[in-house]
């Protein structure tokens, strides 16, 4: 791996981690609301959460870029608050990745929340457990598996994503050139040997990481298994 590839690797890990953590923080309340509301607007919101998937990443990136320019809605607010340009910064990558991977994180968490037995939450409440306490002492441990799924999907998707990132980040080594772009670059510039190496390394690394994540997960419930014949 070349030196720039290593820089790209660190940047990628940073981006994927920051993005996944932010995704969890955003998705948890959103998923909770979606799981519990009976508001008519629910299907609309669910559909909107899935929408980023519909646009090809570069096209999504294009629209995000428009929004992120100092003239755009988000970009101008950002410039006022932070004082630096949003587009082509690491922050822009994070925001873009968060939007792009949102559905994969919201959905597993939402469905875990929906299948949560309310009977246990009631029991906890009668034992004097406050809503926040209930969240950490009952809801979270019971949805653990789905949080892990959500985190892994968000993480993996951020690593592999490149259309959005390339468009709004601009392939700046050390700042916005993540591994997927470096890999894309190698392929585009016909450096197939380097591309193969990088792809293999990326796959191996991700495989180990994902396996680790999935095996910290509780093993399949020790429930009696019905015989199938």
């Amino acid at each position: 791996m070349s030196e720039s590839d290593i820089t790209a690797l660190w940047l990628t890990l940073k981006l994927a981690t920051v993005t996944s953590v932010i995704l969890l923080l955003i998705s948890t309340p959103l998923a909770w609301w979606l799981a519990n509301t009976r508001h008519r607007v629910k299907p609309l919101l669910e559909a909107i959460v899935s929408l980023p998937l519909i646009l090809p990443p570069t096209v999504l990136g294009f629209y995000l870029l428009i929004a992120f320019t100092p003239a755009g809605a988000i970009g101008s607010t950002w410039q006022t608050l932070i004082g630096s340009q949003l587009a082509f910064s690491f922050s822009a990558l994070v925001i873009g990745s968060v939007i792009y991977s949102l559905p994969f994180v919201v959905q597993p968490i939402q469905s875990a929340f929906e299948q949560l037995p309310s009977s246990l939450l009631e029991a906890a409440a009668t034992l004097g457990s406050s809503p926040l306490d209930r969240f950490f002492s009952v809801i979270l441990p019971l949805s653990q598996r789905s949080f892990i799924t959500a985190f892994s999907l968000g993480f993996a998707h951020t690593i592999g994503e490149f259309g959005v990132v390339l468009m709004i980040g601009g392939n700046i080594p050390g700042e916005t050139q993540v591994l997927s772009i470096a890999l894309y670059d190698h392929v585009e510039t016909l450096q197939y040997g380097q591309a193969h190496q990088l792809a293999a390394g990326l796959l191996a690394f991700s495989l180990i990481l994902l396996m680790f994540l999935y095996s910290t997960n509780r093993s399949a419930k020790q429930r009696p298994q019905l015989r199938w014949k």
């Binding site: 587009a87 601009g170 700046i172 670059d185 585009e188």
Partner: protein
Amino acid sequence: LLTSYSWGETLNIAVASNFKATLEKIAQGFQQSSEHQLRIASASTGMLYSQITHGAHFDLFFAADQKSPELLEKKGLTLPGSRFSYAEGHIVLLFKSGQLNNTPKLEDIRKMLVAHSGKLAIANPNVAPYGLAAKQFLQQLDLWQDLQSQLVRGSNINQAYQYIASGSLNLAVVATTQIIIRPIKNLQSWPIPPAMHAPIIQQAVQLKNSKSRQAAKAFLNYLNSAAGQQIIRSDGYGIPHKPVRSTTI
């Protein structure tokens, strides 16, 4: 170290992916004799154009076409007079070796194309100048209509190359530079005469908000020097007839 640091500037260059490899070679030569730092970002010409129009900070933009630099110029985003043609693309026809002799004639090529039953990869003529050239070549041979159903279009010339490099098909129109940088085994190439298509002119501009003007000037000077021109030529590009002078300041 401090002195050299205060002296040197960082030059941000945006380059269309097909020229990136060549530009990197030039950059290498340039940096050996200069204190300036280079940062090269590559993507498709269209994407780079979008980024520039939305505030990306580049000093120089090496496009794969003529259209985007012109548009930038019209929008007043470039340094007046900085636009120039830095390279002319050439295309070749790649086909399975052993079908024709080493120096086939145009009729042989045409016959082979007529007889070909598999797919033919080109860059998308609607998107890529290299694709447009391929289309013009096929039109010249009056085969464009007949081959419609066999055409596979890459979104850029690199993708057309990937199609044939992967072995999925064995007939393609690619850029000459590609087979020089990365030859493919068992394939024969036939240079398509430049007369059979409109010239593929790749232009560059210096952007108006460029801060590293010293470095830009130095780099363009190197590019237009004999050494720079040599690198471009040896990578399979032509040098356009009348290169506009590097900078006007």
